[in-house]
């Protein structure tokens, strides 16, 4: 019997497993993997200039990357790439889902959704954890340990009051051209902007700028929109590969966990094989559920055969503001600058109740065809705009906080169909209009009608299905993330967040998973 069974191999599962690496651990995972293809080892633009086989990894042998031609509700251009789409490949027969007003991105992949994450690592402060039964001091040692384990580049700057002072950072990545100019503009006006509640600083990224444990520093290859294999950028698969060298860690892919039972002295986990459909029961002293907020909620409901209860669901509402830097129209493409978010924007003011956080990035590597019809000209005109405007574009992606609302829930229906309803959404737009107005004098222009407000679900930050609370309620968990009524079952993913700050939750759910794993009485 294992000391601990961990369900899943995503960010929080791997953080907990790393903490428990000297224990007897069984990791049960669906574990879907990408197709076998050569990894992209060069700069993307070198490949695109010379590789006659590039359609294989840009479009896919069956043109799977062109899925947006049929579906307009998909916003992420990254998750449709042929070597990345395995991250969100569903299991509709084994884990059926019916979503209303919600676009769910659920991962059954080895490494989970963080295979394709934005690599931002943000610490929660006591303000962010208001309403949680834990505080920042509970998480801080684990943030530090993860910083050492994963490798985080960045710098302590004007955003320190929002993220805390962080030790052990690698030097920040050099700016790409557009983010660099935006930051210089900001520095000149930062006191004036702060009076309007607008703060900007550099992103802390799990992207190496120095070699770490055999992983190289980032080379500026810009392939992360087309492959999940880049050892400079942390993904949970890096931890999994290290854990598999420990003889006491057993990783079993190909199993979909359906339910658990907790007879008292141990936990039984009932899983279905992806191949052959057979059922098997695994036993352990403790169970750590890290299947993602939605699937962990599903497993909990199925374990109690409950088709009546509604579990809350949280999701950060999102908007995208496409800015064009007028001084960069017609500029050459920045082919070696880092393509992910390099700047963080915080808004705290009267336009929205609660802190809003944004990520600022340049458009470097996506296919231009993905954006072609966002321009309003004729075909030949759009071809010219694609060349002239895209190198000058900077996108601000804003995330808003979320709290439980009556119309937003998931429920187990007949035939184990999981229904997701997301009907209550906040009204957005005021913050976007303010930012467009404030950045216009710097030459960064955007038009309010071009701001996109994707359907709920597109943040891919889900939480709150089995929240941790101080009160002893059914389908809630305590401060050790123990499921009430099942003390050997712990939830260690986003499901335990009682509310969702605008700040990306991944780094915090990893730290929390380590905290829970550390506190297990083994």
């Amino acid at each position: 019997m294992a000391d601990v069974i961990i369900v899943g191999s995503g960010a929080s599962a791997m953080a907990a497993a790393w903490e428990l690496r000297n224990r007897k651990v069984l990791i049960l995972d669906t574990g879907l993997t990408p197709p076998e293809t050569p990894s992209l080892q060069k700069n993307l633009f070198d490949l695109r200039q010379g590789d006659p086989e590039q359609a294989e990894y840009l479009l896919g042998s069956d043109f799977q990357s062109l899925v947006n031609i049929q579906r307009s509700d998909l916003v992420s251009v990254k998750l449709k790439a042929p070597l990345i789409d395995f991250v969100i490949r569903g299991l509709p027969e084994l884990a059926p889902l019916d979503a209303h007003e919600f676009v769910p991105f659920i991962s059954y992949a080895r490494g989970g959704l963080a295979n394709a994450w934005g690599a931002g690592a943000y610490r929660y402060t006591d303000g962010d954890l208001e309403g949680f039964p834990i505080n920042a001091g509970d998480l801080w040692p684990y943030y530090d340990e993860l910083t050492t384990h994963m490798g985080i580049s960045g710098v302590n700057d004007d955003l320190e009051p929002f993220f805390g002072h962080i030790n052990g950072l690698q030097p920040p990545l050099p700016f790409n051209r557009n983010c660099g100019r935006f930051y210089r503009c900001w520095r000149r006006k930062k006191h004036q902007m702060a009076r309007h509640g607008i703060h900007v600083g550099r992103t802390q990224l799990t992207v190496l700028t120095r070699e770490l444990d055999g992983r190289p520093a980032y080379s500026g290859d810009n392939t992360s929109f087309f492959t999940t294999v880049n050892p400079s950028i942390y993904t949970p698969r890096i931890t999994l590969d290290r854990l598999r060298q420990y003889p006491n860690i057993q990783y079993l892919p190909g199993w979909l966990v359906e339910r658990f039972s907790a007879p008292g002295s141990h936990v039984e986990v009932h899983a279905r094989a992806l191949e052959g459909n057979g059922l098997r029961t695994f036993r352990g002293r403790h169970l750590l559920l890290a299947a993602g907020a939605i699937n962990s909620g599903r497993i909990v409901l199925r374990s109690f055969d409950d088709t009546r209860t509604r579990l809350p669901i949280l999701d950060n509402p999102v908007s995208f503001i496409p800015f064009v830097d007028l001084t960069a129209i017609g500029a050459a493409t920045d082919m070696t600058g880092y393509e992910g978010g390099q700047l963080i924007l915080i808004y705290e003011g009267p336009r929205f109740p609660g802190r809003v956080q944004g990520s600022i990035y340049s458009i470097i590597s996506p296919l231009r065809s993905d954006l072609f019809f966002n321009f309003p000209f004729s075909l030949r005109g759009n071809l010219a705009l694609t060349r002239h405007i895209i190198p000058a574009m900077t996108v601000l992606q804003l995330f808003y906080p979320d709290s439980p609302r009556e119309g937003n829930y998931l429920r187990l229906g007949k035939g184990n169909l999981l229904e997701i309803h997301y009907q209550d959404q906040p009204k957005l737009g005021a913050v976007e209009r303010l930012l467009i107005h404030k950045f216009f004098p710097w030459g960064f222009t955007a038009l309010p009608p071009l701001v996109q407000f994707p359907k709920p679900g597109n943040s891919i930050h889900y939480a709150g299905t089995v929240p941790m609370e101080r009160r002893d309620l059914k389908y809630h968990s305590d401060r050790e993330c123990r499921l009430n009524g099942a003390p050997r079952v712990h939830l260690i993913d986003g499901s335990v967040f009682p509310h969702l700050p605008a700040k990306n939750l991944t780094f915090t759910l990893m730290a929390n998973a380590m905290r829970v794993a550390h506190g297990l009485k083994l």
């Binding site: 200039q49 840009l58 043109f63 031609i69 065809s369 004729s378 005109g381 010219a384 190198p391």
Partner: protein, 137 residues
């Protein structure tokens, strides 16, 4: 040369050739046309891989029709097919410079964009008239 008569290109191949010519002002390579035919059959199976018919004969008229139709219905079949051809071209190293500028040409960019703005207005008027004869959705 195997002595066999050349097969007549399918209507979908001809359509691909016209779209490519419209977008890039040069003859379409064989691989691009083959990829276009295959992509249409995979991505638009409900259209049974048939060519859009009728379409205007001149490239600028097709461009005008596409623009006017797109404004009213962004996911109309003509725009979708043009989109497929764009993706196929972009994933070919020969088209790298059509999409990714390697040299700075700031003045040219402003002048060209202004010119295309005026051209777009003209095409939009023409497209609105063409839509009566070629309703594409």
């Amino acid at each position: 040369m195997n002595g066999q008569p050349h097969a007549e290109p399918s209507p979908l191949s001809k359509e691909g050739e016209r779209f490519y010519q419209l977008l890039f002002r040069r003859p379409a390579p064989r691989q691009a046309i083959e990829a276009y035919v295959r992509a249409c059959s995979i991505l638009l199976p409900h259209l049974k891989s048939q060519a859009l018919d009728p379409l205007p004969s001149s490239p600028s008229a097709i461009e005008a029709l596409e623009l006017a139709t797109r404004l009213l219905n962004p996911s109309n079949p003509l725009t979708r097919r043009m989109h497929i051809m764009l993706y196929i071209a972009e994933a070919n190293p020969g088209h790298f410079q059509d999409f990714v500028p390697q040299r700075s040409r700031r003045l040219c960019a402003w002048v060209q964009s202004g010119g295309y703005f005026l051209r777009t207005l003209g095409l939009l008027l023409r497209g609105m008239l063409l839509r009566r004869r070629y309703p594409l959705g």
